[in-house]
Amino acid sequence: MNGKKSKINISKNTSRVALLGILSAQALALSFIENFIPPIPGLPPGAKLGLANIVTMFTASTMGFTSALCVTIIKALFVGSTRGVTAFFMSLAGGVLSTIVMCVLLQIKKNPFGILGVSVACAIAHNTGQLIVATIISGTAMFASYAPFLLFFALVAGCITGSILNVLMPALERQSSFFRR
Amino acid sequence: MGTVISQSIYDSDAQKIAKEIDTEIKNLENINLSWRIKDSDINRINANSGNFTKVDDRTIDWIKTSIDVSKNCNGVFDLTVGPLIQLWNIGSDDAKVPTSDELSSALKTIDYKNVIISGNEVKCGKGQNLDLGAIGKGVACDQIANILDNKNVKGATISVGGSILLYGKNPNAANWALGIRNPIGKADDYVAILKLDECFVSTSGDYERVFEKDGISYHHILDPRTGYPAKSELLSVTVICNSGLLSDALSTACFILGYENSISLLEKYDAQGVFIDKDLNVYVTKGIQNRISITEPNFKLVKGN
């Protein structure tokens, strides 16, 4: 009616769902791409950089816990449908734990950590979740010997994803603002 | 047989050989040994009790050897224990403690002397029931040794359930190092190491298959003389022999007989044994005394005569 208002009057929910859809797709794409990195010997098999965490972290900081959880679950389902049930539970456990950690850290009023610290914490949580699932599935404690490797790898991965997120932040925010008009 | 087979075959064709072994085990169960599978030799003999049944030559051999062992140990190991084993059914979900009436009827049928071999036919007494479960895994090991012979394999360690085959030469050392499992510990705890050359090894212990009812533990090595799990002062017996069937049969018999009464039995078959009793004494027969070293502090080595 009024020419001044935007012509597109999509309800808030719909635009949120649409944005989540885009973010999830981006998470899936990142997850897919990182599979092409050859496994480095000396590292536990299946250790992934967790590039999808870039998207999840952004979602958590701008859209809250439930939204981030959606992205995590969708990504886990994708992993599950391409790599099997074991991979599904690994991705789910790592993702959920990581999402919880990042939301807790971001909700704290005086969050002492910058993007780098949150990334590293998330990566560690992610690997911890996977280690727990691996232990439960195999019913043994033999994967505990992986712990030091996973810890160090999480540190490196966290730094990398944190840096990438830092660089991509403006672009991601622009993407979100498109949906809030 | 439904048991775990683990193999380490030191040969470049290991994969193919392993497959052959798996096939052979299945054949053994289907054709010869299983009392569960309808057309197996043993089942047909049992179904036709009182009459002669024609069976595979290998089955005849195994029954012959089983009768021989039964004779030499005075029936403590007896191939006709089928009814007793099925009564208790230890190891399955239907395990139960039989009544004394049930036990006496079952015990009445047990007598290896009523198993007659004539040519390629076997007859068990009417109402008898053969069960070669105690030696099935040892027999499997014997067959596996044959396969390895045919393939000219240099060395292998095979375990079918608890029956072990140490074949050929150890590529990593002068001989094979066998760990004697700790009867009161976890599955990978061992109390002694035995250095052995090619041989078959079987262990009978009161920890393998146990059924608990009303606070009492019943292990699966039944004494055909009483119908109940053998009351032995032993926790476990490990028998080393040049035949899988014999090592299985002898380990069962020796567990029931106890250390003292087993010595002459083992000598008869040129077998060696390691006996662990409730006080954690480890008795070792003469032939392997220089090959054993105890690795667990609470266990005491007692050299036999």
Binding site: R83, V120, F152 | -
Partner: protein
């Protein structure tokens, strides 16, 4: 929406330093054993099933772990690897050769693990009676 999220704050650096410290502590035992001869330890279902002294291997051979999905190990002088597996991901095979203490490869679906340990122990059994 926070457009000015700081990248690096003091707490971040502290966190990273602590993590590095923990890693060093956990890795220490491995580094101290680097020079001893390598022993490959094979685990099935969490239980140790075999110890192989890699240095005393004369001729290369294979080991079939008898699992489902199947795993075949290849043992050579000084090194070991998963030669083939019928699992979906084959991450175990992709790990390649294990030769230095701390090297590991595992197959999660078949619950097997191979770890290289530092000490060469001639006192471990090849197989344990049941």
């Amino acid at each position: 929406m926070k457009s000015n999220k700081p990248f690096l704050k003091r707490a971040d650096i502290i966190l990273i330093v602590i993590v590095i410290f923990i890693c060093i502590v956990l890795f220490l035992p491995n580094f101290l054993n680097r020079n001893s001869s390598a022993v490959a330890v094979v685990y099935k279902n969490g239980k140790e099933v075999q110890r192989i002294s890699l240095d005393s291997v004369a001729k290369s051979y294979e080991i079939n772990l008898g699992t489902e999905p199947a795993n075949i190990l290849l043992v050579e002088k000084g090194r070991i690897c998963y030669k083939s597996a019928t699992c979906h991901d084959k991450l175990c095979v992709k790990q390649g050769w294990l030769s230095k203490s701390g090297d590991t490869a595992a197959c999660l679906p078949s619950k097997t693990l191979v770890v290289i340990e530092g000490q060469s122990s001639t006192d471990e059994p090849d197989i344990i009676s049941y």
